[in-house]
Symmetry: C3
Subunit: 283 residues, 3 copies
C-alpha cells in the first residue's frame, strides 16, 4: 500500500524551502510519495491556503495532509496534528486546517505537537515546516500512532477563521468572493445549491465592503451597492454564455462561481478575494 502526503504552503517555488521539506520526508520515509497541492498561496494568506486545501482534498488519496501557512511561526500559536474521519492533517493551529477537516468528515482527535523526539535535532524558530511539521507528517504517514505526537486536546479547541459572508434569501445571494482562479473565474463563498433558486437571468452587483449588516446576518442596504449591476445568465459551463458575457454556474468545488466566456470575470466585475457580490434574479 502506497502512503501519501499532500503538501500545501506559501513558500513559493523559487527558494529551496519546499525541497527541504521534501528532503526531510525522503530521508525519514523514502517509500512515502508526496503530492504538491499548491506552494503559491500568497505569503501569510491563511484563508486562501485553507480554501485551496479544502477544495482539493476530496480528489486526493487517503493521506497525511501537511499544510504550512504560518505567519506566526515561532510564536505561541500551537503546532497540531488532527485525525479526521478520512485522513490526517498536520500544521499550525491558526485556522488553516479547519475547512479541510470539515471536508474530510470532521475532527476525531487533536494532538498538540509536543514530542520533540519527532522533530529535527535542532529546530529553527523560523522554519517549523522543515523541522517540526514535515518530520511529524513523515512519521504519521509511516503509520506512527497520533497519540505519540504529543498532548491530546479537545478537537473543539481548534482555532477557526471567521466564516466568510454568505446570505441567501428568495431570489438573492450576497456572498464574499472566496477565490479567483488561474482563469479569472470568481468563486463565491456560497454553496452551489443556492443558485437553483435564482432565475435564468441575474443581475450581479458589487457592494461597498464586506458589509457589517451582512456579517450580522442582515442584508446590505441598497445604498451600499457600488457598481451598477451587470447582467448574467445561469448556465452549466462557460460555453453556455455568448463570448464576453457573464455566466454563473456551480464550479468544480461545488460553489457558486462567475465566469466570462473567453475573458476574465474578476476583471469584468472588478473584484478580488474578500469583496462582496450580490446576485439577484431579474424579474
Amino acid at each position: 500500500v502506497t502512503a501519501w502526503i499532500s503538501f500545501t504552503t506559501d513558500y513559493g517555488l523559487a527558494d529551496g524551502f519546499v525541497a527541504a521539506c521534501h528532503g526531510v520526508i525522503a530521508r525519514l520515509a523514502p517509500s512515502v510519495r508526496v503530492i504538491d497541492v499548491s506552494h503559491a498561496v500568497p505569503p501569510g494568506d491563511i484563508a486562501r491556503g485553507s480554501a485551496v486545501l479544502a477544495d482539493t482534498v476530496g480528489s486526493l488519496p487517503e493521506a497525511v495532509h501537511l499544510a504550512v501557512v504560518d505567519p506566526g511561526v515561532g510564536t505561541s500559536r500551537r503546532a497540531v496534528a488532527v485525525q479526521a474521519r478520512r485522513g490526517v492533517l498536520v500544521g499550525p493551529d491558526n485556522g488553516l486546517l479547519i475547512a479541510a477537516i470539515d471536508a474530510l468528515g470532521g475532527a476525531q482527535r487533536l494532538v498538540e505537537l509536543t514530542n520533540a523526539a519527532w522533530f529535527a535535532p535542532t529546530v529553527s524558530p523560523t522554519f517549523h515546516g522543515r523541522d517540526i511539521f514535515a518530520p511529524v507528517a513523515a512519521r504519521l504517514a509511516l503509520g506512527a500512532d497520533l497519540a505519540e505526537a504529543g498532548t491530546p486536546l479537545d478537537p473543539d479547541a481548534l482555532v477557526r477563521l471567521p466564516a466568510p459572508v454568505c446570505l441567501i434569501a428568495a431570489g438573492l445571494i450576497e456572498a464574499e468572493v472566496h477565490s479567483v482562479d488561474q482563469f479569472g473565474n470568481v468563486q463565491l463563498a456560497a454553496p452551489g445549491a443556492a443558485l437553483a433558486q435564482l432565475g435564468e437571468r441575474l443581475t450581479i452587483g458589487r457592494l461597498a465592503a464586506p458589509g457589517q449588516q451582512a456579517a450580522q446576518g442582515q442584508l446590505a442596504a441598497p445604498g451600499q451597492e457600488v457598481s451598477t449591476g451587470q447582467s448574467a445568465i445561469r448556465g452549466a459551463t462557460f460555453g453556455d454564455a455568448q463570448p464576453g458575457l457573464l455566466v454563473t454556474y456551480v464550479d468544480s468545488a461545488g460553489k457558486v462561481a462567475i465566469a466570462v466566456r473567453g475573458g476574465r470575470a474578476n476583471v469584468a466585475l472588478g473584484v478580488s478575494p474578500g469583496d462582496l457580490l450580490r446576485l439577484t434574479s431579474q424579474s
Copy 2:
C-alpha cells in the same frame, strides 16, 4: 516496468487543479508515476500548449500523455484518446494533441471518450481534466484497452490547428515566431535544416503581420516590413556571438531560433509568438 503519465495544462500551480488530477491518478493507479511537462501554458493558448508538448515528448519515456488546454470545456468539442506509434495521448480534440502525435510517429487509432464508466461518478461541466481526462489516462496507463474508452473514429477526423507561417526560399526564411522561452530566445516555426542555406551573416527584420501573402505561399511584399533589419550571425550556440549581438542557430527542438548572448532576443527584436520574421542572407 514503470508506467508513466506526462501531464500538460494551462491550470497554473496556484490553484489545486493540478493536484486534484494527480490525486485522481494516485487513487486509480498508485503505481503510475507522473512527469509534469508544464502547467504554465497561458490560459486557453492551445498553440502554445501544443508546442510545449510536441517539443518535449521525444525526451520522455513511453507514456500516456495527458494534456488539457481546453477553453471549450463543457461544450461540444470531443474528448479523445489517441494511440500514436510511440505512446498514447488523452485530451480535448481541439488541435492541442496533433503536433505531439506527429512527433510520436502519427495516429494509429482514435477513440472518442464516451465510456462514462471510466469517468468520475459525477462530472463537473467545468473540470473535465479531473473528472474525465485524468481517470481515462490512469486506466490506459494501467494497461486498459483503448477500445474500451469509447467510440472509434477515423484518425483523420482529429481537429488540426492552422499551420504556422513558414516560407523558405533561396537565401530567405519567413516564419512565424513559434515560442519565446524562459531566456528570451525566439523559436521560429521553421525547421533547423533551413538555416544551412543562409550565409554566415544574416539580416533579421520584422514583418507587419502574419501576412496574407505568406499564408498563401507567397513572399511578403517588401513594403510590409516594419522594423529596420538587424544584423545577425549564424552560429551553433549563444556563445558564438559577441555579447549583445544576435545569433541564429538550430535549437534543442530542432527549429531555427534567435538568441542574444547575455540578453533577451525577444526584447532585441521586439517580437512575441505569432509575429512574423524574415531572415535574409547578407550579400
Copy 3:
C-alpha cells in the same frame, strides 16, 4: 535503497526543459526519484543558484545533485562531476557547485565529463542539461563509477565565485545581501554566530555599493552610507518584534537575516541581492 537526484536550474517551469530532463532520467534510471530544488533561479544567475542549492542540500537525502545554471553552455567552460564527502554533484564548472560542495564536506574527486558514451547520441549545443548533465546524473545515481564519466582533475581546479563581502568587527557587521526569499526576508552573507556579539538593539544602514574597501578587508568609510540607519531588535523569530518593525535573527540556513513582522524587509530596507548592509550595535 532508493536512489535520489536533486535538480536545480534556471529553466523555469513554463517551457518543457525541466520535464525533458526528468524524462531522460526516467528513461535511463526509472527507479531513481527526483527532488526539484528550484527551477526559478533568475536566468544565468549563478550566485543565486549556488545559494539556493547550498542552503538546501543539508536537508536532502544522500543524492546526486544535478544543477544547471549555465550561461556559457556550448562554450569552453567545463562540464564536471564532483564526489563530495556526502554526495555527488553534476553541472557546469562555473562556480555554481562550490558552495554546495563545501556544505557537503568538500570535494574528494573531480572529473571532467568527457565520456561521450554517457551523453545523448546527439548533443544540442544549447541544451547540455538534457543531453549531457541529466544522463550523467542518472548513470551516477544508478551506481556507475565516477571515474568512468571522464578525465580526472585536481579538485582545487574547480572555478570559484568571488566570495561575497562580509566583514565582522566589534559591534559591527558589514555584509552583502545574499538572497531575498518569498517573504521578503533579507539574508546576509554573514554567519549567524556573528549576531551574538551585537547588542539587543541595532541600527541597520545601507551602503553605497559593494564597497572596494570592504572587498579589500577594510571597513567602508562612513561617508559611503546612503540610507539613514533604521532601528532593529535582535530576536529569535519574526514574532519577537512589534508588527512593522525590523528584527535580525539567525535564519534556517544559519545566516544573519532581517525580517519585518507582517511586512517585507527587502522593501523596508530598499535592498536587493548584492547590496551592502551595515549592522551596528546601538550604544
